[in-house]
């Protein structure tokens, strides 16, 4: 939509690895809404969940409108599970999973997907790694065979690994090094997380990516890729019984190879000091600022807290009717864009972000002060019943729109189940949103929009722009 500027780039926590038109984009400006639930999206009776004997979890989401299925295999491992010094290995391994197995060497899997007119891709986030194909339903069994085979059968040669590392480095250049806003996003996250590996870039630090080896990839693979650490999601023109039978015949034959312990990452100490940084890049022609606050995720929050943050992100900073947009862009006329977002889907504590781009003539520190003032005014004014209802209805409506896309449905369940959520927690989300009160929203703002728990970044052309205006 041409009249909205997307200002925040740090919010992309998932990388769609291979570039095809059907790439998945998890995360994004509408993260709060994207986390939306599926209670209406899929009536409870429609969605099935079961476990195979080898520990593989299975979710089936029927959608009978077209003779098509979306087949996704999610592993409960992501960039935040990487050993120190090996940042980027989760994503690199995701690329390498396309290099073949003993049974299906080289590109046979991709060639087979192509031969039947399927689309495929894969993605990595901090908490999960996923592989998917979309095909006509009669080919589901074939895909399950291949995907089950590469759960534990990966074969890597230097001939395949060496060029792929270059591809990943090119991807890092494309996503980050070539993009000043993405570089700022990396710096803010590194500053925000004092101890948790969420502070590391999802794609890895370049110097560490450069040093990754075939052995690193295989070690990470053997440690984490196993049926007892994975979730299969099949959405589309199938029944749970069909999927169960096919899954038993394919995935069911894979022996668990890894000992999977609880996912314990180093946690954050109390945050006591606001962090501020700036990134100067000669290419910056439009300055901007972003601030990330450390907040609870849907998994770590107390009951209702994460949903209050969902509504807060919407009322405070989603779209042209939001508080920040009205105050800064419309009323005070000092910004060309301003907003907020919340990434609730995460295993550990997560981020609530605010962002703004000043109009010419306004400095970033003036804008930042105005944002702080606007947030204080928001807390003082409270949320009107109309604003609250509008936000809640709009968030819940997204769960109806989501029913139009089997891929979206598959993604929601997969993301939830690999970050500590359950089918029930996804399905109950609209009801929990409905229960959020105006006081909950204001309490969330008071509690969590605490600068001591934040890192603020300025994107500027050169350091002299900073002046001494920072308060």
């Amino acid at each position: 939509m041409p009249n909205q500027l997307t200002t925040s780039t740090s919010i992309l926590k998932a990388i769609a690895c291979l570039a095809v038109a059907a790439g998945l984009h998890l995360g994004g400006a509408n993260a709060a809404a994207a986390q939306a639930s599926v209670a209406q999206a899929a009536p409870k009776s429609d969605v099935s969940y079961f476990k195979l004997a080898n520990g593989l979890e299975v979710v089936v989401v029927p959608d009978r409108r077209a003779p098509v299925v979306t087949h996704m295999l999610w592993y409960k491992v992501g960039a935040a599970d990487e050993p120190p010094g090996k940042s980027g290995i989760a994503h690199f391994l995701e690329h390498l999973l396309f290099k073949g197995t003993q049974k299906n060497p080289g590109g046979r899997f991709s060639q087979t997907v192509a031969a039947v007119g399927g689309q495929e891709n894969a993605f990595t986030s901090s908490d999960y790694t996923g592989y998917y194909q979309r095909v006509s339903k009669e080919h589901l069994r074939t895909l399950m065979d291949f995907e089950a085979d590469r759960m534990t059968g990966l074969v890597l040669t230097d001939e395949a690994v060496v060029p792929e590392l270059k591809v990943v480095l090119e991807e890092q250049s494309q996503r980050v090094a070539n993009n000043p806003r993405a570089r700022l996003g990396e710096q803010i996250e590194a500053a925000l997380f004092l101890n948790h590996p969420y502070g590391r870039p999802l794609i890895g630090w370049r110097h560490e990516i450069e040093a990754l080896t075939r052995e690193d990839a295989l070690a990470f693979y053997r440690q984490h890729y196993s049926p007892n650490n994975a979730v299969l999601v099949v959405a589309g023109d199938v029944t749970a019984d069909e999927v169960r039978a096919l899954a038993e015949e394919t995935y069911g034959k894979v022996k668990p190879v890894a000992q999977i312990g609880p996912r314990r990452r180093p946690q954050e100490p109390p945050h006591v000091s606001p962090r501020f940084l700036s990134l100067a890049d000669a290419r910056v022609q439009q300055p901007s600022m972003q601030r990330s606050y450390l907040v609870p995720s849907a998994t770590t929050a107390k009951p209702g807290e994460s949903e209050s943050l969902d509504v807060l992100a919407y009322v405070l900073g989603h779209g042209n009717t939001s508080w920040l947009y009205r105050k800064l862009v419309v009323e005070r006329d000092i910004a060309v864009g301003a907003g907020s977002w919340y990434r609730g889907t995460a295993l550990d504590q997560t981020i609530f972000g605010i962002y703004g781009s000043p109009k010419p003539g306004t400095t970033l520190s003036q804008l930042e002060q105005a944002m702080d003032t606007a947030i204080a005014e928001f807390i003082a004014a409270g949320v009107s019943a109309q604003d609250l209802d509008r936000a809640k209805n709009r968030l819940i409506a997204d769960s109806i729109y989501a029913r139009d896309s089997q891929a979206t449905m598959a993604r929601w369940f997969g993301a939830a189940l690999t970050t500590g959520g359950t089918i029930a927690s996804v399905q109950g989300w609209p009801d929990r949103i409905r229960a959020v009160s105006a006081a909950d929203v204001i309490n969330a703002a008071k509690t969590w929009l605490d600068k001591r728990r934040s890192a603020t970044g300025y994107l500027i052309k050169d350091a002299s722009q900073l002046e001494d205006k920072r308060s």
């Binding site: 939509m1 041409p2 009249n3 909205q4 500027l5 997307t6 992309l12 769609a16 570039a19 038109a21 790439g23 984009h25 400006a29 509408n30 959608d63 009978r64 409108r65 077209a66 003779p67 098509v68 396309f98 590109g107 997907v113 031969a115 007119g117 399927g118 689309q119 979309r134 095909v135 060029p163 590392l165 591809v167 090119e170 991807e171 250049s173 494309q174 070539n178 589309g236 290419r283 022609q285 439009q286 779209g319 042209n320 009717t321 862009v329 006329d333 060309v336 781009s357 109009k359 509008r390 936000a391 209805n393 709009r394 409506a397 109806i400 729109y401 139009d404 896309s405 089997q406 891929a407």
Partner: protein, 449 residues
């Protein structure tokens, strides 16, 4: 809206998606298309889908950015940004609030040839939703304060893009390839043009372009033909019957063989290459589409993907596509490579394109491509929004309401002789290349002219 972080430039991405959809073969069962004509004579194609309480409506008018005044690029883009900024009695914020209250999603966008609208509504809010759409199209306010605000946002975007290598490569390519032609103007406008765009410019464009005479509509969802007929009159009935489009001359690409390198301090170079392609009406378009799929279409098995990415690790993304504009037919290739290896990537791609033109695909490649293109048919019919978009594209390309049923057969009928003949026509006179970055050993070539 989420900006897609695709490796494809935004334009390339959107376009490719549209083509892939329009060309997809289709299972007849997925689409029972009704031609609905409203009492007032407005036509729409409808696929009824009662299993979800939603309605998707896509529509388009002829004349996108190519109808911008010559000295003021960006007007169409401004119109698209302004239609939901207040209409009728509702000012900008009141209108936006009503959109949210009804959970009605309304998006307008512009390509070189078309002005697009895409709407999604809840079935149970269709009256309120359609009313808002009617207001936006027929009673937009274009208030001065809203225009000023959108100016500011547009300019911020342009400033941001001004040092983005992908934008520079794209803008340079079009400016040089289509000098003194509407296609050479940047659709988004320029830092100079946007501030000069007035309410009169915006109104003038809307009056000339948003008319019933070129309107095409497709609808998918829980609505019957009779209700849709009434809805069409309500939403579009008050638009002017006809407008006044500036004729756009045909312009075959003649810039091939040249290369323009723009220096920018980024570690990775952005490369855009374009040559002559085939028009959508060309009898060899379908064979060319199949050949392009083999060469660089969006799968992990194309020649470009295999040679440039898989074997050599030169790039994260590399792909090609046909771009049949209404007034020029193009074939495009795009990639991004490190400064050290850009020259190698460019030369390799040029040789792969040449080799395809000279020898065509193999029998085996052709068989596999046909299998893929036929098999992937159904994937274009799994969401209402995708079906609506596909039906619209088929209408715009004037392929006929039975096209979706015929599509598989057309792909299947492509022989190796057809493919070889079509391959020779891809970039027949070579490629015009723009590169942005610090590519080692790669210089501009005959950049004048």
């Amino acid at each position: 809206m989420i900006r897609h972080r695709s490796i494809r430039g935004l334009l390339a991405f959107c376009w490719l998606a549209a083509v892939a959809i329009a060309l997809a073969p289709a299972p007849a069962s997925a689409t029972n298309i009704e031609r609905v004509v409203s009492p007032g004579g407005i036509e729409a194609w409808l696929v009824r889908e009662p299993s979800l309480p939603l309605i998707a409506m896509n529509f388009a008018f002829l004349g996108g950015a190519n109808q911008d005044p010559n000295e003021k690029p960006g007007v169409a883009n401004m119109v698209a940004a302004m239609l939901d900024e207040g209409a009728g009695e509702l000012n900008d914020s009141a209108f936006q609030r009503r959109l949210e209250e009804t959970a009605f999603e309304m998006r307008f966008s512009v390509t070189r040839d078309y002005f697009y609208g895409a709407a999604r509504m809840l079935r149970d809010k269709q009256d309120e939703s359609l009313d808002l759409l009617r207001l936006a199209l027929t009673k937009p306010r274009f208030d001065a304060h809203a225009i000023a605000r959108i100016h500011g946002q547009t300019l911020a975007g342009l400033r941001r893009e001004s040092t983005n290598p992908t934008t520079i490569a794209t803008r340079t390519w079009w400016r040089r390839a289509f000098a003194n032609h509407a296609y050479g103007r940047p659709s988004g406008g320029t830092l100079e043009s946007v501030p000069t765009i007035t309410a009169d410019d915006i109104r003038g464009y809307a009056k000339r372009v948003l008319t019933r005479s070129t309107l095409k509509v497709s609808v998918v969802g829980d609505i019957d033909a009779a209700s849709l007929g009434k809805a069409l009159d309500r939403v579009f009935g008050d638009l002017p019957a006809t407008g006044e489009l500036t004729p756009i001359p045909e312009r075959p690409l003649d810039a091939a063989g040249r290369r323009v390198v723009s220096q920018l301090d980024v570690p990775q170079s952005v490369v855009l290459m374009g040559g002559v392609g085939l028009s959508r009406k060309d009898s060899d378009f379908i064979p060319a589409f199949v050949v392009n799929h083999i060469l660089g279409g969006g799968s992990f098995t194309s020649r470009l993907y295999d040679e440039v990415r898989d074997k050599r690790g030169l790039a994260y993304g590399v792909y090609s596509y046909l771009l049949p504009l209404r007034h020029s037919a193009l074939f495009m290739v795009s990639t991004q490579a490190s400064a050290e290896r850009t020259a190698e990537a460019v030369e390799l791609i040029e040789s792969l394109v040449r080799r395809m033109a000279e020898d065509g695909p193999t029998e085996d490649e052709l068989a596999k491509a046909k299998s893929y293109l036929k098999g992937s048919y159904a994937l274009n019919f799994d969401t209402s929004a995708k079906i609506a978009n596909l039906l619209l594209q088929v209408q715009l390309d004037d392929l006929g309401i039975d096209y979706i049923e015929r599509r598989n057969g057309l792909i299947d009928a492509v022989t190796i002789a057809d493919a070889k003949r079509a391959a020779k026509r891809l970039a027949e006179s070579g490629l015009f290349v723009t590169v942005v970055g610090r590519p080692k050993g790669l210089e501009s070539k005959d950049p004048g002219g």
